[in-house]
């Protein structure tokens, strides 16, 4: 029997499979930890050694989404719990007095994350198309300049940005954060998308020009569908950055436009950090990027090669 590169021997397959599983275990462990902690009770969350099997509770999630206050036995009896969440609160001698700020912060994250992703991709696509197709004076220098904005960590310019935002009244606003994240993402987006658009033969657009379409029609009817793969993968990269961004968010937002990352660690329960609630917040926070990535997965798998194998 002989084995080729494309058809390895069973032993090689076993070995490779084991390695992959091991690697997956190591990388997924923290994720598993977070997800399970979200379903633990406060005492179980800090138990040592950590419990693997436990009775799941939604306490963390209820604490995450609600504001509660401790009341006397009499008051508790006067307000019998009606909903499932109230029952959980009541079991600890609390009643729910309103929603927490988590929903708001999460919504901020969605608005700012997706807003800046949308802007980065739209501007990036237009710029990349122009750089790819038109004779732009000093094209190479401009492309290098765009890249050079990412040669230091964005947070290195935090102080000027902080002052600038204060002067312009952009501090703690959604618009300010969207603009900031767009500015940071744009260089990646232009570079990635230019690579993809360069790969699309000009003849397709030219055929459309001949077929009676304007340059802009040719762009959005012919080039855009061809660039879908590149646009999808660029969008994922942009979203992951702006979704997870922490440092600027801590520095520039507070009451109004604060996103989820700086908010989640500040969830304080009664008598110290409410770890199950923090874990529940982190779990929910993971979901949108995961869903977005899975939705665009088909494109991403092809796109991740950055156009290299596109024929």
């Amino acid at each position: 029997m002989s084995y080729s590169i494309t058809d390895p021997s069973p032993r090689t397959k076993w070995f490779a499979g084991t390695l992959v599983i091991l690697y997956a275990l190591i990388t997924l462990m923290p994720l598993l930890w977070i997800i399970t902690t979200g379903f633990k009770s406060q005492s179980e969350a800090i138990a040592y050694p950590p419990s693997v099997l436990f009775e799941p509770t939604l306490e963390g999630y209820v604490n995450l989404f609600t504001t509660q206050t401790r009341v006397s036995e009499a008051d508790l009896a006067a307000n019998p719990p009606e909903t499932f969440a109230e029952e959980i609160a009541a079991s600890k001698g609390m009643i729910i007095v309103g929603p927490s700020r988590f929903g708001e912060r999460f919504l901020n994250s969605v608005i700012i994350g997706f807003g800046s992703t949308f802007l980065s991709v739209v501007l990036g696509t237009l710029a990349a198309y122009a750089f790819s197709r038109y004779r732009v004076p000093l094209k190479d220098d401009l492309m290098f300049f765009i890249l050079s904005t990412r040669m230091m960590p964005p947070i290195a310019v935090a102080i000027p940005i902080f002052l600038m935002f204060r002067t312009l009244g952009l501090s703690d606003t959604h618009l300010g954060m969207i603009l900031l994240y767009t500015a940071v993402n744009l260089s990646l987006s232009v570079w990635l998308l230019k690579g993809f658009i360069d790969e699309i033969p000009r003849e397709y657009e030219e055929a459309a020009l001949i077929d009676g379409y304007t340059r802009f029609q040719a762009f959005y009817k012919v080039v855009l569908p061809q660039a879908a793969t590149g646009i999808a993968s660029t969008a994922i990269f942009c979203l992951i950055f702006s979704w997870n961004e922490y440092a600027f968010a801590v520095l520039l937002t507070s009451g109004n436009a604060q996103t989820a990352p700086p908010f989640i660690p500040t969830i304080i329960g009664v008598g110290g950090q409410d770890w199950p609630a923090v874990a529940a917040g982190a779990t929910i926070f993971l979901v949108p990027v995961m869903v977005f990535t899975i939705l665009l997965r088909k494109h991403l798998l092809r796109g991740i090669t950055f156009g290299a194998v596109r024929k």
Partner: protein, 365 residues
């Protein structure tokens, strides 16, 4: 349908001149060939005519209107690209209907028109297929369908058969020509294959290094090349060019190739110095009485004819003769050139000297 007139068309890419100063006219309904070696500016010329490239200077008249500065969509021409450029995200039917949709034609009419075109090209059965998996020939037909579907003023084709294999090329070439004859549409066809140009074209323009070398009907270009480049580029094997140093006076009817006196059509112009005598292989005859002599160095059997290569004092000469004639390698034979078919070139300008033979061709070429 349209007449297309090109006047002093020029295209510079930076400091590089891709097309120098082209002028020629394509009559209504002609199958017109743009012929030349790779990189000579054929595609650039065609793209300027189509509106995909802005000329540096010059004029392009489409039915008398100067369209040089107009965008492609206002010229009403169709273009078949070398690699077809079918829209990859659309199926065959949508590809063909795309030019109609831009005109705002109703859906029913589009459908009818596409079906009609598919019938002409014999591609009814692939209309709902994606273009990705099509064979080369079918892609070609879809590209043609997209071109003919809206009855444009003219068809431009850039090496449309270049991507097909040899056997299929011939069939597609016939189909193309038949399609043209049926529709009578003005067609400009770019190729670097001189045989294809001779076979299919009503008229040919031969280009080299961005310069129009000659323009005319295939027979004239073949018989009376205007320049040494054309003499060498057209025909297989090409025209023999015997280089000599001497004198070709106005009014004379012969030149001296060493000691041999070679009859030529009466020259209407004169030149002296570095000259060349041009004669097609089929006009070279082996004749023991011939005063010009050569030694046979090779023979190539081609069925009814054979190509005999002879070494002479002024370079190699190829003769196309009947294949039943026996020639031995190493044999020294006399050569006779058919006098009324010979051209004389001035090597300093590379141009043919005007003579009784080529005056009709060179006058308008």
């Amino acid at each position: 349908m349209a007449q297309i007139r090109i006047e002093n068309l020029r295209k510079d890419f930076g400091s590089f001149t891709a097309v120098q100063s082209s002028s020629f006219t394509i009559e209504d309904g002609e199958f017109f060939m743009l012929l030349g070696p790779s990189g000579c500016g054929k595609t650039t010329t065609l793209r300027m005519m189509a509106g995909l490239e802005l000329p540096t200077s010059g004029h392009i008249y489409l039915d008398g209107d100067d369209v040089a500065d107009r965008p492609a969509r206002q010229r009403d021409i169709a273009f078949v690209f070398q690699m077809y450029a079918l829209y990859p995200h659309m199926n065959v039917r949508r590809n063909i209907s795309y030019p109609l949709i831009s005109q705002g034609m109703s859906r029913g009419d589009v459908r009818r028109k596409v079906d009609e075109v598919a019938g002409i090209l014999g591609i009814e059965d692939i209309l709902s297929k994606p273009v990705g998996g099509l064979s080369g020939g079918d892609r070609q037909r879809v590209a043609l369908g997209r071109a003919i579907v809206r009855d444009p003023k003219a068809f431009f084709m850039d090496e449309p058969l270049g991507a097909l294999d040899a056997e299929f090329r011939e069939r597609m070439a016939e189909e193309l020509r038949a399609l043209h004859d049926r529709m009578g549409a003005t067609t400009v066809y770019v190729t670097h294959d001189q045989l294809e140009a001779m076979q299919m074209g009503d008229k040919i323009v031969v280009m080299n290094h961005g310069v129009v070398e000659q323009f005319g009907v295939p027979q004239d270009i073949y018989d009376w090349p205007a320049t040494m480049f054309v003499a060498n580029f057209i025909g297989s094997p090409p025209m023999n060019l015997l280089e000599f140093h001497g004198m070709a006076g106005r009014g004379t009817d012969h030149v001296m190739l060493g000691d041999a006196k070679i009859a030529v059509p009466t020259l209407l112009d004169g030149a002296q110095g570095d000259l060349a005598l041009g004669v097609r292989p089929e006009h070279v005859h082996l004749d023991d009485d011939g005063s010009y002599r050569g030694r046979v160095t090779a023979t190539e059997y081609l069925g009814t004819t054979q190509i005999v290569t002879l070494s002479t004092a002024h370079g190699d000469v190829k003769a196309r003769i009947a294949s039943d004639k026996k020639v031995e390698i190493g044999e020294v034979v006399g050569l006779r050139f058919n006098p009324s078919t010979v051209s004389v070139f001035d090597r300093s300008t590379s141009r043919a000297i005007l003579s009784d033979g080529n005056k009709g061709v060179l006058a308008h070429g």
